[in-house]
Homo-oligomer: 344 residues x 2
């Protein structure tokens, strides 16, 4: 849904001379003063769509800011200020305090000042706009990838989608009928009990790769954050840059928790198509590998080379045998279906 609508908007929008980069990247770049570029991103979370009903208020607060900081990270920008638009069904001070616990914890960690916004009555929805700064010309855009570039991914992929898959597993009739029992205990996979607590923090409290993004500003050719799924997000980079990409599906970084909870087929689909990880995917020339690995070490973020930018168009994934790999389900349709109400 999202991209059709955004294309429709973009086709009609007039620009200004001081808009360096408008609709279509992770954030906009605005020339606010000579030699000073402002980076602006806005992302909204809706209950039941971007987080399961029943998610802890503090986790919602954290995530609402995290997904926006992740956009700034993907631009290589230094976060500075944010605004918050909060729609609440009722004025609930306890919920708000919890929300602020998570939101302000993350804001404090990145020295982001909350400077304004509004509160309105309505279905639970959180809109955040973040503002950051970059050196002129230093931003990481989607349109800079070049054939021959390595494709890198930070952290591990598929954990958030794995947690979501476990949450959405249909409950067996016996468990559903037994109100007192732990709802997920009788799930189809024996590993669910152990896996969910290990994976769910990745869904609820994603880590925006802000320091990594800032360090990449002088190193990478292009970057995007993985919010819709690696293949989908990388396709945006390829389209913007006029290139293609080859991905080694077996090189995608995988957490032990994901490996324990899913078979290889499920795992590959979650890693390649799962959204909400908020890792960075970026491209850089091969002669910068050492500097990039040093940056990963310095920022404490694991970095994996997972493919190569090529001439042409589109993203092709291959497994270790060299055979083309297609996901078991058609990507991760982030907005296609609202979450089922969360168990518990």
């Amino acid at each position: 849904m999202e991209f059709d609508l955004i294309d429709r908007i973009r086709a009609r929008v007039a620009s200004r001379d001081d808009v360096v980069l408008g609709i279509g990247d992770d954030a906009a770049i605005l020339e606010v003063a000579p030699g000073r570029q402002l980076v602006v991103a806005a992302d909204t979370l809706n209950a039941g769509v971007h987080f399961p009903h029943g998610t802890a208020a503090a986790d919602i607060g954290w995530k609402a800011l995290a997904v926006n900081l992740s956009d700034l990270a993907a631009m290589g920008a230094e976060p500075a200020w944010c605004t918050l638009s909060l729609s609440l069904p009722e004025a609930d001070a306890e919920w708000l305090d919890g929300f602020l616990d998570g939101f302000l914890e993350l804001a404090g960690a990145h020295r982001v000042a909350l400077v304004g916004g509004d509160t309105t009555r309505g279905p639970l929805s959180i809109g955040v706009t973040v503002h950051g700064l970059v050196e002129p010309g230093g931003a990481l855009r989607r349109d800079g990838a070049r054939a021959g570039d390595d494709i890198w991914v930070s952290g591990t992929l598929g954990d958030a989608a794995g947690a979501l898959a476990l949450l959405q597993r249909p409950e067996p009739v016996v468990a559903a009928a037994c109100e007192a029992g732990p709802v997920l205990a009788a799930g189809p996979a024996d590993a669910t009990d152990e896996a969910l607590p290990r994976l769910r923090p990745r869904l609820d409290r994603p880590t925006p790769r802000v320091q990594l993004g800032r360090g990449l500003a002088g190193l990478a050719h292009a970057a995007v954050d993985v919010s819709d799924g690696l293949l989908a997000d990388l396709a945006h980079v390829c389209r913007a840059s006029g290139v293609g990409a080859g991905i080694d599906i077996d090189a995608l970084p995988c957490s032990a928790a994901l490996r324990d909870a899913f078979d290889e087929g499920e795992r590959r689909s979650l890693q390649a198509g799962g959204g909400d990880d908020y890792e960075l995917c970026f491209t850089a020339p091969a002669d910068r590998r050492e500097r990039i690995e040093a940056l990963g070490a310095a920022t404490g973020v694991a970095l994996a080379r997972v493919g190569r930018v090529v001439d042409g168009a589109g993203v092709v994934a291959r497994d270790r045998s060299g055979a083309p790999w297609t996901p078991g389900r058609a990507g991760y349709a982030h907005f296609a279906e609202p979450f089922a109400p969360a168990p518990g």
Copy 2:
């Protein structure tokens, strides 16, 4: 609801050296570069709360931007860029096109570039963040009013609330039972038929007083836009400035349409307590009256002097006899009750 929650947020927020003005005014002021101040405001409209269900998409688009530009006007800022966060129940291209008609018409009139945002699935909600620029120190804040200042109001007051009052009048049983008939034709007041078409544009398509606000930047001591109702918004100015205010209730500017549709008691309540007019209320020393009147003439906006800033605290309204006037209903509770579904 709004102010309790905002106070709760403000109490916990950490600032930064480059935040000139944070939470609590119409917009925030950020020092983006030496000698360059960015003004940022964010306002959300929710279906059924900020506009009646069934409002035309183009009117919703216009209003979503207008209420934000009104915040910039109240700061004396020059609008530059905006982002749009759109939650839609379904991807509806026709609705979006209509929405953009209104949104972009107003954006074009003020040279505002739409530079980013997001679209998500959810109940209809429109979040806009606007960015403008002011000369350092030139912004109109709420905290600059001084005892002895004149209190001015632009345009006319109460029209938007008057339209809303007509829309919300209970339908007579006969009309409600007759699906084919015009729903409002049998309204309780004979004047409704004529008055609603004259008043409703003020509810659906408010005019942000951008040029006036920019002109006031060197003239006024303090300003606020009238979104919650004159007395309520002026009270914010008084509190921020540490002063009181006296209002001449009979001096409040009134449109002919409002005068025709309501008796004096209703009219005064709508003018003093009705929200959604998005006029500017500002204070300025008496020796600037001529320059202010010249600005009104130059920008084509009627300006009325409606009272005086005094030492003390609180806002007191008096009628022509000098007797204290209290509204028939306790202010305009903007978020207290969702709109009833709109007729038609």
